[in-house]
Symmetry: C2
Subunit: 194 residues, 2 copies
Amino acid sequence: MKNRVITISREFGSGGRTIGRRAGEQLGIPCYDLELIEKISEESGLLQEFIAEKSEDAPKSGLLANMFSDRSFYGMSSQGYLWTVQKKIILDLARKGPCVIVGRCADAILKEEADCLTVFVHASLERRAERIVRLYGENENAPEKRLREKDKRRSAYYHYYTDMEWGAVSNYHIALDSGVIGIEKCVELITTLY
Amino acid sequence: MKNRVITISREFGSGGRTIGRRAGEQLGIPCYDLELIEKISEESGLLQEFIAEKSEDAPKSGLLANMFSDRSFYGMSSQGYLWTVQKKIILDLARKGPCVIVGRCADAILKEEADCLTVFVHASLERRAERIVRLYGENENAPEKRLREKDKRRSAYYHYYTDMEWGAVSNYHIALDSGVIGIEKCVELITTLY
C-alpha cells in the first residue's frame, strides 16, 4: 500500500481536527473525521450517536465492564463490533488513496499497512480549556475536568485496542504543541512534510 | 528575559546535536553543546571528562548512591555542585542572547526564565543503532544495549533534577522522529518556527 496517509491523533480541544481538515484542503486530499462516523454507521448499522460516543473513548463506567456487558453482534460486544468495522473502513480508505484521518487509532491500525505520516497534536490544559469554552460553550463541568476526562478515556481506549501508549512521543513522527505553535503554523509544518 | 532560545533534548544517537548545530548556523546564533562543558569546567574547576560523564547521565551504579557518596564541595556532592554551576551557566547564556542549547536539561532550567522553543528529537532503536555504529564505531556492547542504557541514565538524571518526565510529549513544543523525517528536514522545521 503506497498511498501516503496522514494520521492525526490529538488531545481533546487542541485543534487537531481543524489542523487535519486544513492540511487536507491545502494538499487537495480528503480528510476523514466526522465522515468516518457516517461510513461506519452505514457499514455497521449502528447509530451515529453511538459511534460518536464509543469509537474513540473508553466508557466512563469502566472499560472492561462495557466491553463485555452488551454482547449482541455475532457474539461480540457492540463496542468490539464497532472496532472491527472501524478498522476495516480505515484500512479501505488508506487503500483507496492519499488522505488525512483524524483520530480513531488510525496511526496504530495503519502502522504496518500504509505509508503514513503520524502526527500528535497537544496543548496545555489552559489553552485547551479556553478553546473548548470558546467553541463549545460553557458546561456544568469545569472545562479542565472535561478535558482530563476525555483524554483519559481516549488514552484508555487507544491502549485497550492497540496495546500502545497514547501520546507517547516515540509513536509519532511529529508532535506539535498547537497552543504555542498556532493552528496555521501546525498546518504548514505538516504539509511541508507530505 | 526575552531572548529566544532553542533547547534541544534528544535520545542518544538521534542526531539532535547535529540538528542543533545546523539550526544555529542557519539562524546565525551560537549553539552550545560541547562548549558548555568547557564553560562549566572553567567555572567549577571540575575536569571536563567528569562533566561530560556526569552532566547529563545518572551514574550506572545507582543515582542516589552517587548523589550522596562524594560530598566534597561546600557540603554538596560533586554531582550536585556540577548541577548548580551548569544551571547558572545555562541561565547566563540565555540572558546573554539568542542561542541553541543542546541537552543538559536546558528546557527545564529555562522553563520560566526565557522565551524558549523546546524541541525533542528521537528515532527508532534500529535507526539510532545504525547511526552510532557509523559515527562512533563498534563497541564491546551491542549498540541497542548502549542506547537503552544511555537513554535510561539521561531520563533518570532529568527526572531527578527537574521533577519532570524526559521525553513526555507535553514538555516539548515540537518533537521529531529524525529517523523518518531526516536530519536536514528537522533543521528546516525548527528554523521555520524560530
